[in-house]
Structure formats: structure tokens, C-alpha cells
Symmetry: C2
DNA sequence: TTTTGCTAATTAAACGTTTAAGCATATTTT
DNA sequence: AAAATATGCTTAAACGTTTAATTAGCAAAA
């Protein structure tokens, strides 16, 4: 591969200084008082040589790379890949390129990624933070580096963030189950201190309590991020074979639900008669389960676009106030919770 | 945000030249004959100041960015997001970062992306090429720029590529349907000149012919990349209501299949008795359809890893021979084609 | 004593841009 | 006629690295 054409080549060709070429190609002829004919010559030469600016050089000079870093838990997870797509498109519209990394929910990987992205001089970050990554974020915050959290957040951290009201959504979802007549409602969650997950659990517990349902210890199962299918399967089996057999499952995310549905499907458990099912997030699978699954829908488009707008704002004004933006959710009610409606006295 | 610590700051702190600092931090003390104590001092200062190299500056100097570009049709499509994940991990292991772009199957977007990535000085590209993008690729090839095609390819283009044997796989899949007793086999494909799709069609036609089945014009439907659900639905309805009603559908990709299954499910058509179903690729949905779907599995891990290895090889030796690597497929047989087996004389 | 050869450092150029400042010449204003 | 302003271009420094070439001191060899 031969060396690429640089501004220097154009300068030589036309017989002017590189400065002049730069002025012309950046449309600064006016300010720089470049002669009309010379400007035209430069432009012609640039076209003829097929000049393409070296953005690396430009970045070194300007201190900005027009690049954003996106850190998600796992880009192969549909939730995140969809968000990535939305952010990619929005960023492109603003003239930015996106580089993506998966943290696998590990603080160490997250730290490595943040470091790598900063070394690459990204202008800003959008992060779905991993557990234990609060300290890294606090450092970013103290450095005044522009970033926005999505999906997850930390209450003690006054960073920009875009996410749903997890407590409220979980509360409403649980209450929906109760209204539908389910009483022994179990939850399947991730074993993590991440606030968004804790809030979902808190919402679930609060709804049960508010409706006079005593929760049992073994109506709650938590799994790690690895070995999902296996863990969920074992957990469900234990709950279903135990003595306080649940009559409904509340899955805290779509990946948990998909894992759970596999088991429920194999075991031939009848939904919604024998078992009610509700989940967070979305999935094609929910539509194809023999009893389409009721779920809490969050608008990924809104989250992605809002996050990008917020980041742009923050990059323009790094000292501006940090915002925590809540995105609406909607409960999509379908057959998996369609047990006979029961009147409740409120 | 204050200015980041540079090599200059360390030099000043220790009282040496920036060159010396660079030598030490790059572990070239031996070659550069740096004194032991001075080296130690430099290292200590670097640690104390929390020095992080500016990769942009390094790239400008070295001409390499340790960055790869990945262009897929749509990162929010699970097939591509999974490939992206595999490539991300493999690239990281080699010290590379990946930037991703979605072409939406449009040659113009593809050209824009390639241009943007080249301007960013990526060291190599992995591309799932869009229709009509052959010319762009030929230019890359002539420039000697390292790249590898995945999933798609162009017969006339002697570029590196990693993909499956689409003809063979489609042939085998079709023959499986025939062996299972299906005779009026229809295909649902994309309306595109892309060879991988044409090959799948060719394989399907060849298998039918070889088994003495005359194909009907209206057993073939093709759709564009937009309005998928709608188009597939209309197409299927027309075929199923027509007079040569198909007794099996062969979907050319998972997205087509998912769109088709939605319709088939809603219409209450009985699979596999009334209708056999087979598809390319993979999908969670295939497991949850009431009759789990038979499909042609291609190992995404293999494709991703092989592509990355090939790209690395090409970057090391840009004049090396170009390779076209075929990845094995496997027909995963399940209930959606489980009609009574019929003995065939071969 | 001069030459050669180490050792340990520095200098300076380069990568490709951008941009403030400078320098002629020409033109207008007072 | 002198001073101010306009015009058209160049110089040079800067961004943060890397690295070839050079220097300078000192010890060993001829």
C-alpha cells in the first residue's frame, strides 16, 4: 500500500504552502484571505489526487477525535445490540464514530475498556456500568470527563444517566399478577448489587406486601451472569418441586426469562393456568412462546437517543449540571398472565 | 478537564529528555543504553503522575492505529451482533480495538463507512459486504488494503473471505425436506443479487430438480430488506392461498424465518403435518416455536475467529495470497420437519 | 599519545494537521 | 505624502509520540 496523499502533496502540486491548502480545504478562505483562483486550483488538485484527510493527525492537533466509546455488558445480547444500533445512528448524525466494548459485567474488564478508550482519546463515553465499577466512574466524574450511564446507575453518584423507574415498573408488574389472581409469586433475578436489579426486587417485594401477601424466602432465586441456563433451570426446579410452589414467575430480565421459558416449556407446565409469567425487557421469544409473555417494555430508541443527546450536551458544556433522566415503561399484557380476572378492593 | 500527563511532563520532572523517557517506557533501555537508576526514576515518575500514553500521537508517528473496522448489515441483528462479539474478543486478544458500522445493505452507506474508517486509519477491515459494493472492495484490493469478507462474497473478486458453502447447505437442507416426504417445497428469500443468496436459491432448485420435482414459479418469494414482516406475511398468504399450495417452506435466513413463523403461528397452520419448515442460521425463536425448527447451523465462532486470523495474517503480509475459507455447516434436525420418513431410492 | 570503543545521554526530525503571527505589496484614507 | 488598511500568501509552532543520528565523557587498546 503506497503512502496516502497528504496536504503536503497538494501544496507541492499547486506550488503553495500547506497552510494555504489547509485553509482552503476547511473552507476558511474568507478568514485567511486566499485568492479565488488559487483556492480553485487547490480544490482541483485535492480532487484529482483524491485527497482524504488523516483524521488521526487532525485529532492530535485538535485534541478531539469525533469518536465515542460505548461500553455494554455484552454486545451479543439483543437488548444491548439494539441500543448500540440506535446510538450508532444518532452518533453518525452528529459526525461521530462509535467504538464498542463488552464488559461481561466485570469491573476489571470495564476498567480496562475505559482505560483503552481514554487512551484512544474518545470524546465521551456511554456506559451500562458493571457491578463494582462505581469507583471508576467517580474518577471519570472528578476528571470532568463527559459520560452518560444507561440502563444502570448508582444512587450516590451524581452522573448523567438515562434509565427507567425500576421500582415503579416492577411494582406495577407485580401488582398486575396479583390482580390476575396469582398469589404465590416468585422472582427470578440476578445476583448483583447493581441498583437497577435491587430496585426491581424492591418493587416486587413492596407490591406483595402492599397487597397483604407474605413473601417466602424460597420464592426468590438469584443467579450469576455465567451458566445462566443451568442455574435458572436448577433454581426453577427447586422452587416448583418445593412445598410453597409458586403460581407465577416474575423474571427480572429477558435473558433470565428466555432461560426460564426453556425449562417451563420442556416440563410442559401450563401457562397461564398453572403458572403466570411476566418479564422485563423484550424478546422475539416472548411472541413465540405458546402463551405470549406479558412484559415491561422500555423504549430502547428513547434510551439510546436521550443518552446521546445528553452526552452531546455534556461535551459542549462539561461543567453543566448532571441530569438523571427517567424513561417511561409500558406493561404489555398478554396471554402468559391471562388468568381469570379477580376483583380487588383497593 | 485538565490536560493529560504527557511524556514531556515526566521528562521535566526527572530532568531528562523526552526521548529517554520514551525509550524507558517502551522497554528499549537496552538498545538505547539508558542508565539503570535513571530508568527507575522515570518509571517511578510515570507511575506517580499516572501517565497514560496518547495512542493518537503514537498512531500518527507509527502509521498504525491498532484499530479494526467491522462493517455488517445491521449490528442489531443477532447474527451480526454475535459475530461482532466474537471478533471483538479475538481482536482484543491481539491488542486491537474494533469500531463497528451498519450498512443497512446499502452500497452507499457501505462506501461512507469504508471511507470514514479509512480516514480514521484503521489497520484492517472485516466486511459483510452489501449488494453493489463490489467496486468499493475492488478498490481496496487494488490499494493493497487488508480486509476480509464474511458471510457474503463476490465470485469475481479474489479477496480474502470466510463463509459457508451456501449451495451445498441449501441443497442438503432441501433434500432433507424431500426425504421427509415434502414435495411442494417453497422458498422464501431476499431480493438481492448477493451471491450467497443466489447460491442458496441455486442449491434449493438443484435439489428439487435432482429429485424429479418440477418447481413452480409461485413457490418462490423474494422480499426487500425493509418492511420484512409485512412483505413476508403477504407473500406467504399468497402462496398458501394459491392453487399449488406448498407443503414446506425453506427460509433463506433467520430473519425471514422469524417473520414467517409469526404468520404461520397466527394462522394456526399445523407444523410439521400440514407444513414443513426449515431455515438457515439460528435463533432463540426456533427453540420456542411449538414445533422446534430444523435449521442449517453455521458456527459463528468459527467464522469470526477465522476471519480475524486471516486479517492478522494479511496485515502482516499484505502481499500474501488471498484465501477463500469455507466453514462447515450442520443440519440441526428437529420437529418442524418431522413428517413420516419416506424411503428414497438413491 | 592517539585511536577506538563503550556508556549514557541529548538533539532533531518526523508523522499530518491547524492556526496564530508575520511579511510583502497594493490600495485607500487622511 | 504619509499613514492606515487590505490583500495574498508564507513561516513556524504546536499536538504527543518515536527513533535515527549525534555528542560527550571516559576507559581500554594500539
Amino acid at each position: 500500500m503506497e503512502r496516502k496523499v497528504s496536504i503536503k502533496d497538494i501544496a507541492k502540486q499547486v506550488g503553495v504552502s500547506t497552510a494555504l491548502v489547509s485553509y482552503v480545504l476547511n473552507n476558511k478562505e474568507k478568514e485567511a484571505r486566499v485568492g479565488k483562483e488559487v483556492a480553485e486550483k487547490v480544490r482541483r488538485a485535492a480532487r484529482k489526487l483524491n485527497y482524504q484527510p488523516n483524521l488521526i493527525a487532525r485529532s492530535l492537533q485538535s485534541g478531539r477525535t469525533q469518536t465515542l466509546g460505548l461500553i455494554v455488558a455484552d454486545i451479543s445480547n439483543p437488548f444491548f445490540s439494539y441500543i448500540a444500533r440506535v446510538i450508532e445512528d444518532a452518533a453518525n448524525q452528529h459526525g461521530y464514530t462509535v467504538i464498542i466494548g463488552s464488559s461481561d459485567e466485570q469491573a476489571s474488564k470495564s476498567a480496562t475498556l475505559i482505560g483503552a478508550f481514554l487512551n484512544r482519546q474518545v470524546d465521551g463515553l456511554i456506559i451500562a456500568p458493571a457491578e463494582q465499577s462505581e469507583k471508576q466512574l467517580r474518577t471519570l466524574l472528578n476528571d470532568g470527563f463527559p459520560f452518560v450511564l444507561i440502563d444502570r446507575y448508582f444512587p450516590g453518584l451524581s452522573a448523567n444517566s438515562v434509565h427507567i423507574d425500576n421500582y415503579r415498573s416492577a411494582y406495577d408488574a407485580s401488582e398486575h399478577l396479583i390482580r390476575k389472581g396469582y398469589r404465590r409469586i416468585a422472582m427470578v433475578a440476578y445476583e448483583t448489587a447493581l441498583p437497577h436489579m435491587q430496585e426491581r426486587i424492591r418493587g416486587y417485594l413492596a407490591a406483595l406486601k402492599a397487597n397483604g401477601i407474605r413473601t417466602k424466602r424460597n420464592w426468590m432465586m438469584k443467579t450469576g451472569f455465567t451458566n445462566l441456563d443451568q442455574d435458572v433451570q436448577t433454581g426453577l426446579r427447586k422452587m416448583l418441586d418445593g412445598k410453597e410452589r409458586p403460581d407465577a414467575f416474575f423474571f427480572a430480565t429477558n435473558s433470565l426469562a428466555v432461560a426460564g421459558l426453556k425449562y417451563i416449556y420442556r416440563e410442559g407446565i401450563r401457562v397461564p393456568e398453572e403458572l403466570g409469567i411476566i418479564s422485563f425487557d423484550e424478546s422475539d421469544v416472548f411472541d413465540f412462546f405458546y402463551a405470549p409473555v406479558t412484559y415491561v417494555r422500555q423504549s430502547i430508541e428513547d434510551i439510546g437517543k436521550t443518552a446521546l443527546d445528553l452526552l452531546m450536551k455534556q461535551m459542549k458544556n462539561p461543567n453543566g449540571k448532571k441530569e438523571q433522566i427517567l424513561i417511561d415503561t409500558k406493561l404489555i399484557i398478554r396471554k402468559s398472565t391471562a388468568r381469570t380476572e379477580i376483583k380487588t378492593i383497593k
